[in-house]
Each structure stands twice: as structure tokens, then as C-alpha cells.
Amino acid sequence: MARKKHSEPVRPKRPSTLVGRKTVPAVIKEREELERLLRVHDPEMAEVTRSRIKPAQLPLVRRIALDHASEGGGMVARKHAIALLGSLGAIEDLNLLSDLARFDAEPAIRAEALTGLGRSGVAMAVPTLLEAIGSSDMLEAAAASKALYILARKVGIAAVRAHLDKGSSKGKRLATAVLDKMASPAAGRSVKRSESRRDPVTLR
């Protein structure tokens, strides 16, 4: 049935006051462009971002990764900058990723840096992962566990095991459990469909 509508109000406008782009420092313009590339949402666009960022832009990608915890879209730009550095796996970025994984105030950033360490494929990252895998922060511990799995797939289970003595006993125990599970015969991917639970009324 056709809707009988009132006319929709026209939204009023105000003029913007913009600084001419020619007078804006090049590094600011370059960062604007990088953030536009990094603030993507979907997998196919993440591929586009990876293909468009040039090695010369990596210092600025590192700068984005290191910025303060940000509002709005700033967090996603940071996360994706860290993901990019992790996927490149450059040795010079290991310290940066490790510092973010250990010292950043934002759990989501620490989790991203831990995953980046896993993706870097460098076994030297194991001690940082062992420190995080026993964390009381659920996200940090889960990300460290995943990162250890990703790292072991890249460098081999034995290479990761060789570094386990560099962690606490709790970290070593949890990491061993991840590696043992990987080493056991594949159980096959479960495709059994199950149903989530409805939240209890007391939560709503």
C-alpha cells in the first residue's frame, strides 16, 4: 500500500570553513589518506588497503599504531595499522608490536598487537605471548592463545616449544595445551549447527 507522506523537511545547510589543502603540511594530508584506507570494514576492502599502502608510508602507519587510544574511527585505524605491520612481519616492528601488546591501555589494541606478533612468524615473539596467555583479561588471553596457534602454524610447533621455558609456569602450561591440541590428529571441522541462548530477563 502506498504511504501517504508529509513532505520530508529539507535539512538546512551551513558553509564549511576549510583550510586550503595546499597549505596543509604533506604529512597531515598523507595521514588523512592513510586513515581513509585503514578505516575499512569488510574483507575485500582490507585486501585493497593492503595493496595500496606503499613501503614509504610505513613510518606513518607505525605512527598511527602508536597514537593514544582514540575516539570514533581512530581505534579501528590503529587496529588495522597494527594488523598491517603484523602481516608484513618485519623484524624492526617486533619491538613496536611487543610494546603495544604489553603496555597499551586499550585491551583491543593489546589483542591486535598479540595477533600481529603471531602473524609475524617470528618465534622471538613467544615470551610476550606467554606473558599474555595467562592474563586475567579474557580478550588478551584469548588473543594470545590464537596468536600462539597462528605462530606455530607458521614456524612449526617445535620452534614454538623451544621458547616455552622463557615464560611463567602458567604461561607454559596454557601454551602447551594449545600446541598439544594442534599436534593431536585432526578431529575434523565440526559443522553441527547449534543454537545460542536467549539472555536471561535479569540482564535486560
Binding site: 596543509v24 584506507l37 579501528v76
Partner: protein, 501 residues
């Protein structure tokens, strides 16, 4: 004959006019971490250790603090609250109107307080979200202005704002490559100096056009928020009763369908330079004039009138309409990892998503669901598209014809923060395409609300666009929330899971 009645009223807690949204940034006092730094917020013996080290030489990184033997939690707190020597980062501490308030149709200035530890120049940019089209005001900052730690952004006579909420998204970029962001919302007060405005219930997103009438059983329920704004230096006493009128067509020029009165109860005083809000729910049973109009998909207008204790009255109005609707199964993945505060923020984000769609006359119902940590297993942190599709395959449902929205603790290492199973998504709960997944995004409410809206938009058939401010931009921020009529609205309503009452 059945009649519409006021089924519920409630006053809303008063919010400060310069921190008007619960989603605004929290002000911070950010300084340099050196031997003179006060109030570090850590144990006294550790303070001594930090200051002694700072006297011996500059602290340059968080690793320097960790080397002093500080617990990780303290290192994280200090690295976030302070800048180090030679730190390239920049931080915005606060943004406030320079006169303490913004008056309608008057030029104004915002004072931006910030901190940087190195010599640099900057670009200050303010994106304004208000009832009209968003606009931006920029200015450059010299090295001297950057060193001063605060600067003003002026809004001219052509950039004045009407009464109502306005959100300012402030960013500061430096020529050293750093950037900081801050968000603040102000209630713009009437210069005339008193007004009443009507908006959709619980609406914090500016620029909403209409309130929603929802079918509940054999009735329609319409919920609205009434806001009284006082731009004067003396409080205004109000009578607690109100009158309401629903019109077929614009108020005053169409036909009055139904009218009546109600009361908020208690006493109402609108503070000097402040606001007061309350919400009203109307129930229109089958057979009532309003029910019949809404059932015929006809738009209405509602006018609310209130009276000051001095006898003068004030009124405001808004369009009311029924909407197309669909459903979302919002499923927390790894439920134990969501605190009660996280839970509240998640559903505030879902409300933001709903407002985004309701501005385009589409609404949705929500089924609140969860997967425990044990059920979720490795799905709490998604590290590939394939894993996200495993999640859909194993956990889509129940078979209620709602879209599954899985909210995970993190999508890490991938470069994306959301995924829709397909464009459009299937009208079944089977296979590897049934659902969308989103990173909980630090539970930043406006951003997460936009992200859920974006991925659900894909599921409903929307592809990426390049129109500035649109929800379906491939790369976007919390402020990109517009949906157009053609083709976006027309596409959404064709999805098999979208219906109209």
C-alpha cells in the same frame, strides 16, 4: 468508540548542557611525565621510583617505566595519562564552548585544550553534527599556539545553530604525523529564550525526522521525547500537565484526528541555561482514529503543548509514521567477557543502529542472545573470514527470520572489523552466509552502532557507495550514518525478512 490514551510518562535525568550525550569523550588532564609530574595515580613507593628515574634522565617510552619494575597495569595507566619526553603523540584533553554555553542563532567559539611534548604545528578540525547537513570548521595552529596548549575555533554568523543538540567531532593533526580526536555534544539553548521540542524516544542522533509508531498486538504505540530548553538566567517553573493533538496532515492545516491531556506528575522546573526532558507513550487501540490512520500507512503529526506557571504556553511537533521492520538476533559471543557496563553499551549501540534506520523509516526488533565462552570456543577472537563463516555455519539461528548479528570480542589481524555473509544475505539460517559479525570495537557506542548498521545494510542488499556521510561507505567513521531513499531504502524494503505491520 476506542480512543488513544497516554499509557506512560517519565521524566529523563537532566544532562549537563556541555556534556549532553552519554557518548561524549571524557575530559583528561594530560601532561608531561617528568620529575615535576604530580598525582601519578600509582602507589607512593612507585611514585618515588618514577620521579627518581625522571631526575636521572628523561623517560621516553612505556618500556622505560616497565624497566623500573612497575606493574604492567601501572605502566599502561601512566603511558595513557601522560606524554613522555620527545613523545610524538598529541592528546586533546577537553573541548568546551568559550562562554560556557551555545545560544541559538548566535556566533560562538569552542575552546580546545590539548597537549604535545614536541615542537610542532597543527591542523584543528571540527565536524558539526546537528539537525542540518554536517559541516566542518578548520584552522591551522602555529608552533607557538601548539605550545600554549589551547586554541579557539570560531563559528561565524553564517555557522550559527538552532535550538537542539549539536555534536562536535574535534580532531587535531600535527606535522609530526600524530592525531588525536575528541567528541562533545552541547544542547544549543534558545536565544528567544524558551522552547519546547519533540523528538523520537531516546534519540541522541541529531537530524531525526520522525517518531515511530510500533504495532503491539492490536494497538499502535507511539513514544516521543519532549525537551524544554531555557536560554534565560532564571529558572522557569512549568505546570506538569500537557495537551496532545494528532493531526492528519501538518498541524493546523490538516484534520485533527484525536487529542487529549496528560501529566508528568511532580513539579517541573527548567534550570537557568538548562534543559528538562520527559517522554510520553501513546497507546492507540484498534478502532481509534490514530490506529486507523496508521493502519492505512498514513503519516500523522503530533503536537505537544505545555504551560508555564506564569500562564504562557509553549509547543512543539513531530511527524509520526509506521515503519517497515525486520529483526536482529544480537548474539554476544563469549558472554562472560561482557561486563554489565559492556552489556549496557552494546544495547546503546544497537539503539544507535535503530535510530540510523528509523531516520529512513525502517525499524527493527531485537532478540538478545548469547554464546558462553565454552560454546564460543575460539570464536571470541576471529582471525580470518573463514572463521567468521564457520561461526555462521555453526551458530546461525534460531529460525525466527531475524538477521544474526554476532558481536565478538575482537576481529584481529585481518584489517577488517565486520563481515556480512552475503549481499543480500539469505532468508534462512543455514549455510556459511547467514549472519553478520562485528568486532565489539572497544564498545565505542556511536562507532559500534554505525558498524552494526553497515554490516546489516549489506545483509539487506546494500553495496558500498561513495556519497559523503553515507552508512555504506567502504571506509567510514561513527558520523557516516546517512541512508538515501533511492536506491537504499527501496532496496532494504525488498529483502525477504523485511515486512510492514
Amino acid at each position: 468508540m476506542a480512543k488513544t490514551s497516554v499509557s506512560r510518562v517519565e521524566s529523563v535525568p537532566v544532562r549537563p548542557i556541555t556534556r549532553y550525550s552519554p557518548f561524549d569523550s571524557v575530559p583528561r588532564d594530560i601532561r608531561l611525565l617528568d620529575a615535576k609530574a604530580e598525582t601519578l595515580g600509582i602507589k607512593p613507593d612507585l611514585v618515588g621510583r618514577v620521579k627518581a628515574a625522571a631526575r636521572l634522565g628523561p623517560l621516553r617510552t612505556a618500556a622505560d617505566l616497565a624497566a623500573l619494575g612497575l606493574p604492567l597495569a601501572d605502566v599502561r595507566r601512566l603511558a595513557n595519562a601522560f606524554l613522555f619526553t620527545d613523545d610524538l603523540r598529541v592528546a586533546i584533553g577537553d573541548v568546551q564552548p568559550s562562554q560556557g554555553r551555545i545560544m541559538s542563532d548566535r556566533p560562538f567559539r569552542l575552546k580546545v585544550s590539548f597537549a604535545s611534548a614536541t615542537r610542532c604545528t597543527g591542523l584543528l578540525s571540527v565536524l558539526v553534527e546537528w539537525a542540518g547537513e554536517p559541516f566542518t570548521v578548520e584552522r591551522t595552529l602555529s608552533a607557538k599556539e601548539m605550545a600554549k596548549g589551547n586554541a579557539y575555533v570560531s563559528f561565524s554568523g553564517k555557522q550559527t545553530l538552532p535550538v537542539g543538540p549539536a555534536t562536535f567531532h574535534v580532531s587535531l593533526s600535527t606535522d609530526r604525523g600524530a592525531r588525536a580526536e575528541f567528541r562533545v555534544t552541547c544542547a544549543v539553548l534558545p536565544s528567544n529564550p524558551f522552547s519546547l521540542s519533540v523528538s523520537p524516544r531516546d534519540n541522541f542522533v541529531t537530524g531525526s525526522f520522525s517518531a515511530r509508531a510500533v504495532r503491539q498486538g492490536s494497538s499502535f504505540v507511539t513514544a516521543i521525547t519532549v525537551t524544554l530548553s531555557n536560554g534565560n538566567s532564571t529558572p522557569v517553573g512549568m505546570r506538569n500537565d500537557f495537551s496532545w493533538e494528532f493531526w492528519d496532515g501538518p498541524v493546523g492545516s490538516g484534520t485533527r484526528v484525536e487529542n487529549g491531556t496528560g501529566s508528568f506528575g511532580g513539579s517541573i522546573t527548567v534550570p537557568a541555561f538548562g534543559t528538562w526532558s520527559g517522554w510520553i507513550a501513546f497507546t492507540s487501540p484498534s478502532g481509534a482514529g490514530i490506529f486507523n490512520k496508521l493502519n492505512d500507512k498514513e503519516d500523522l503529526a503530533v503536537r505537544i503543548t505545555m504551560t508555564r506557571t506564569n500562564g504562557s504556553s509553549v509547543s512543539g511537533e513531530i511527524t509520526v509514521r509506521t515503519m517497515f521492520r525486520f529483526g536482529l538476533n544480537i548474539t554476544r559471543v563469549g558472554a562472560e567477557g561482557f561486563s554489565s557496563s559492556d552489556y549496557t553499551k552494546l544495547y546503546q549501540a544497537v539503539d544507535v543502529t535503530r535510530t540510523i534506520y528509523e531516520r529512513r523509516d525502517v525499524t527493527f526488533d531485537v532478540d538478545r542472545r548469547n554464546l558462553s565462552n565454552a560454546q564460543a570456543g575460539g570464536f571470541t577472537v576471529i582471525t580470518s573470514e573463514s572463521e567468521a563463516r564457520d561461526l555462521f555455519e555453526q551458530w546461525s539461528g534460531p529460525d525466527n527470520n531475524f538477521i544474526d548479528v554476532f558481536v565478538v570480542h575482537s576481529i584481529s589481524g585481518t584489517g577488517f572489523d565486520g563481515l556480512a555473509g552475503d549481499i543480500p544475505g539469505p532468508t534462512s539460517h543455514a549455510g556459511r552466509s547467514s549472519g553478520v559479525v562485528v568486532d565489539k570495537s572497544g564498545l565505542n557506542v556511536p562507532y559500534l552502532g554505525m558498524l552494526i548498521g553497515h554490516e546489516v545494510g549489506h545483509y539487506l542488499g546494500l553495496s558500498h557507495v561513495s556519497d559523503a556521510g553515507n552508512l555504506m561507505l567502504s571506509s567510514s567513521s561513527a558520523t557516516d550514518t546517512n541512508l538515501n531513499y533511492d536506491p537504499q531504502y527501496r532496496t532494504i524494503i525488498r529483502h525477504g525478512w523485511v515486512r510492514i505491520d
